[in-house]
């Protein structure tokens, strides 16, 4: 199928307004005749469900959480970007657009990114009106900080809990529509299939996680806002339940999956401490504004530190290598995430890592504490320092933090056009679930912005274009496609329960995660990827012969839930490897060791790879078909990123 991005013609700055004028509108009196299903109630889903209900559509919203307030979005720490230019420091819509395109290493679509920057300013207004308590200055106006290496201060925040406050704002708007009866909320309901009738998305199949009941639901359109798939790596900063199932089921029903190998590894996370480790904790990027990253200069010194012969705080200045400051004098510790992560890995690979495992570097606050005071540092980062101490039992005011990169975010996701519609008509994808705006690398504080832009401002306009062309006749689950999808879901549950093997879903997940991290993580090469591909295929086969789940499908059964998700990760993992193999270049978070500059930096190949790789499912155990959306850059000049 030819991929049409449907990006409007015309000057960049006018595209969105023009598009909004050109899309068809649904007659206000008819809106209540349309049912829309929104799956996921994180930032992207809650904002969409509330806004669509306000417009008059009947919304059914679904989440596997026990409450919409708990989505993974709640954990975002640092902030949300918006081109308000409140700080008079030269920010503008165009600058935010430019930074996002460049930060994404020129692998995103200009029109989408520009729209994102445009509506960013409305997000802040919306949230303030909801009562979101953003940080403020003494004069009572909103405060900003510079974040993730941006040269301007455009990040709005609520201490280290921005995601929480934004989500609770969206949750409150959603709650209001639930109270009005315009949204019917289904909690603890997991989407296990998408129903397609005559080529159009017409509903979903869910499993009630408390009773085990399988249900079907019909609607005129379906929006997936089901988050990212970082947990394919087992260990990540994502919440434990984050998974790929919704996107993957949609993919198998015909939605193309774009750039699956673009994953973001965040440089500042608390390192792994043992085999029992269940997840990794992020230490906010804002720490890099004041902390200095270093490792011992020599392997010998690193070894003495690892063996506790020397305390890190006692290592002399001369024996330290502030490697980011040394290699990137212009940006220093504030280089983008992918660059910071790769360099930390390189130091550890050289044998200069610290901590008992040797897989950590230091993030040191002694200088800022000396320059200001421990109290000033605590004012800014108190909650993060406390969390660090709780987890590691070490005091970061006295001893430098140990940090190491960890999987954090997935830029890849369901392919969507400018309307956020997937390749299945009537099926939309928003938030981290889609691939749209961050190219090969996402800038800090831009995911919250994108989720809310999609939900509050984009989907409410674009979905009307599709619905207006759909007759406002009631939809039902009578079509045989519903019964068929339901039977498929039930058969799979039965199959998982009947294997009665010897290995737990977690054991398979860990093994997969290990393969992904080693061969499709921070650095990749063709040989390793081919090895991983074969290993994953083997593991998948073993899974279906040897997975162990007890109990029944008619009850709350967390091991069964987990098994279903791991089964999908095992398929997605292989596609990620295929995608990484196809992309014979390095860009953003995708670093192929064969494609590096002499200084070891990522080397893009714009002549051959300035495209979105959109993968098409062709059948079980069949190779997926690659479709390309060529990226056209009319407003920015492609340059090699340099942070020297």
């Amino acid at each position: 199928m030819a991929l049409n991005s449907k990006a409007p013609e015309g000057p960049l700055a006018e595209k969105w307004d023009k598009h909004k004028f050109n899309v068809k509108l649904v007659n206000p009196a008819n809106k209540r005749k349309y049912d829309v299903i929104v799956v996921g109630t994180g930032l992207a889903g809650a904002s969409a469900a509330a806004s669509l209900a306000e417009l008059g559509y009947n919304v059914k919203a679904f989440t596997y959480h026990d409450s919409p307030r708990r989505a993974h979005s709640i954990a975002a720490q640092g902030g949300v970007n918006a081109a308000k230019n409140y700080q008079n420091d030269g920010d503008s819509v165009f600058r935010l657009f430019y930074d996002t395109i460049k930060g994404g290493d020129y692998r995103s679509r200009e029109a989408n990114v520009y729209r994102l920057a445009q509506v960013s300013v409305n997000i802040i207004d919306q949230c303030v009106a909801q009562g979101v308590p953003f940080a403020r200055e003494y004069g009572g106006l909103l405060a900003n900080r510079s974040f993730g290496g941006a040269q301007v201060s455009r990040t709005f925040y609520a201490r280290g809990q921005t995601g929480q406050q934004l989500l609770l704002g969206a949750y409150s708007a959603l709650s209001r529509q639930i109270a009005y009866g315009k949204v019917k909320m289904y909690t603890r309901s997991e989407l296990l299939d998408v129903v397609v009738v005559d080529g159009q998305a017409r509903g979903i199949v869910t499993r009630n996680l408390i009773t085990g009941e399988t249900q079907t639901h019909a609607a005129h359109a379906v929006v997936l806002a089901t988050g990212g798939y970082g947990n394919v790596f087992y260990l990540s900063t994502n919440a434990m339940y984050c998974n790929a199932t919704a996107a993957w089921r949609a993919h198998k029903k015909g939605a193309y999956f774009a750039n699956p190998c673009f994953t973001q590894i965040h440089p500042t996370c608390i390192p792994v401490s043992g085999d029992y480790q269940s997840k990794l904790t992020l230490m906010s990027e804002s720490l890099r504004n004041d902390g200095r990253v270093w490792v011992p200069k020599t392997k010998e010194m690193a070894e003495r530190v690892r063996n506790n012969e020397v305390k890190p705080q006692d290592v002399q200045e001369d024996d330290r290598d502030y490697f980011l400051e040394r290699k990137y004098p212009a940006f220093g510790n504030l280089v983008p995430r992918d660059v910071a992560s790769r360099n930390a890995k390189q130091m550890c690979d050289e044998g200069r890592g610290v901590g008992s495992t040797g897989l950590a570097v230091y993030l040191d606050f002694s200088e800022i504490i000396k320059r200001t005071s421990a109290e000033a540092v605590s004012q800014k980062y108190g909650n993060l320092f406390a969390m660090y101490e709780k987890i590691t039992d070490e005091n970061p005011y006295e001893r430098p933090m140990r940090i190491y990169p960890a999987v954090h975010y997935t830029m890849g996701g369901l392919w969507v056009d400018y309307n956020l519609q997937t390749t299945i008509p009537g099926l939309y994808a928003t938030g981290e679930c889609n691939f749209s705006d961050h190219g090969a690398n996402r800038l800090g504080a831009s995911a919250l912005m994108q989720g809310l832009a999609d939900g509050y401002f984009v989907i409410p306009s674009t979905i009307g274009d599709y619905l207006a062309a759909t007759p406002p006749k009631p939809v039902t689950t009578d079509h045989p496609a519903f019964a068929e999808a339901k039977a498929g879901v039930q058969a799979r549950v039965e199959q998982l329960l009947s294997i009665k093997g010897n290995r737990t879903p977690d054991e398979f997940h860990k093994k997969l995660g290990h393969l992904m991290w080693e061969y499709c993580g921070m650095a990749r090469n063709a040989e390793g990827l081919k090895f991983a591909k074969a290993e994953i295929a083997k593991l998948r086969k073993e899974f279906w012969q040897d997975v162990k789940v007890v109990g029944s499908g008619e009850e709350m059964n967390q091991a069964l839930e987990k098994a279903g998700r791991v089964a999908d990760f095992l398929e997605l993992g292989e596609l990620m490897v295929d995608d990484a193999l196809d992309r014979n270049e390095s860009c953003g978070g995708h670093f192929r060791e064969e494609y590096a500059t002499e200084e070891g930096e990522a080397k893009r190949d714009d002549d051959h790879y300035a495209y979105v790789a959109a993968w098409e499912y062709t059948g079980d155990n069949q190779p997926e078909r690659l479709n390309k959306e060529e990226l056209v850059f009319e407003n920015v000049k492609l340059t090699q990123r340099s942070y020297k």
């Binding site: 708990r70 408390i210 792994v272 009850e555 091991a559």
Partner: protein
């Protein structure tokens, strides 16, 4: 792999865990042993060890809620040795680490106990009553779009900071579990005062407090007796000041609605 503290010795523990197949069935405490528990593990990672072991033995793993494991989503909710979220102050269950326990210890783990929080299974309870209280008025009635510029209404920093403090409630329900009346007053007051403090929320302040308090009663939460065990056990430090604000708001609302009647 060694943990961050190379001297920490693994522990052997006895767990007494509440098992209940579903809401209708009755439940009981069942005893399990877990061995070689690293002090660097989180409490939930210790339960993961138990569950992997049970699964291998062909037994039903213990159901419990969790997600972020960072103390922010409010999913985890265990009553450990008679205390909401266990022995460490200001800590959710997921952020509690095993170094707070000692080798050979017996640990009793139960779900939140409250009529308004029926048990789903084992240690997982249904807290949707909290959602219904928020639906009764825990919002500002604004639609998407057409809102004034974010800097249109300056808000004094100390007011905004207090609203933020109240807004940090994670909706875990520890306050209810800690209260002998199973009152939800701390939870409700946190939302009421966040919005009552901010100009955006003041427009609807009166109806909000009345409707949310009425809903709290309908859901079957008990009365507040101002002892303060809720705030003492709240993992994020929601303060009793919020209950004072709620009471004030509630009285004002009553006076106004009586005048109107």
């Amino acid at each position: 792999m060694a943990g961050s503290n190379p001297n920490a010795k693994p522990m052997n523990l006895t767990l007494r865990v509440w098992r209940q197949p579903n809401h209708q069935a009755s439940g009981q405490i069942v005893e399990y042993k877990v061995n070689e528990i690293s002090p660097d593990m989180s409490f939930l990672e210790m339960l993961d060890v138990l569950n992997e072991d049970l699964l291998h033995k062909g037994q039903d793993p213990v159901a419990f809620d969790h997600d972020c494991r960072e103390g922010i989503c409010g999913s985890c909710a265990l009553f450990i040795n008679g205390r909401s979220h266990g022995p460490e102050k200001g800590t959710t269950t997921c952020q509690l680490h095993m170094r707070k326990f000692s080798d050979g210890e017996t640990i009793t783990i139960e779900p939140w106990r409250a009529n308004a929080f029926p048990v789903n299974k084992d240690l997982s309870v249904d807290r949707s009553a909290f959602d219904r209280i928020i639906q009764a008025g825990g919002y500002v009635s604004v639609n998407t779009g057409g809102t004034p510029d974010g800097n249109e209404i300056p808000i004094p920093k100390d007011i905004s900071d207090r609203a933020f403090e109240a807004a940090t409630c994670i909706g875990c329900g520890a306050c209810v579990a800690a209260c002998k009346n199973a009152s939800a007053m701390l939870f409700v007051s946190a939302k009421v005062s966040q919005l009552a403090l901010l100009p955006q929320g003041q427009v609807e302040a009166q109806t909000r407090v009345e409707n949310m308090v009425a809903r709290m009663d309908i859901e079957g939460f008990g009365a507040c007796s101002n002892i303060g065990s809720c705030a003492a056990e709240c993992p994020v430090g929601i303060s009793l000041e919020n209950i004072a604000i709620l009471n004030r708001e509630f009285l004002t609302a009553k006076v106004v609605s009586n005048n109107m009647a």
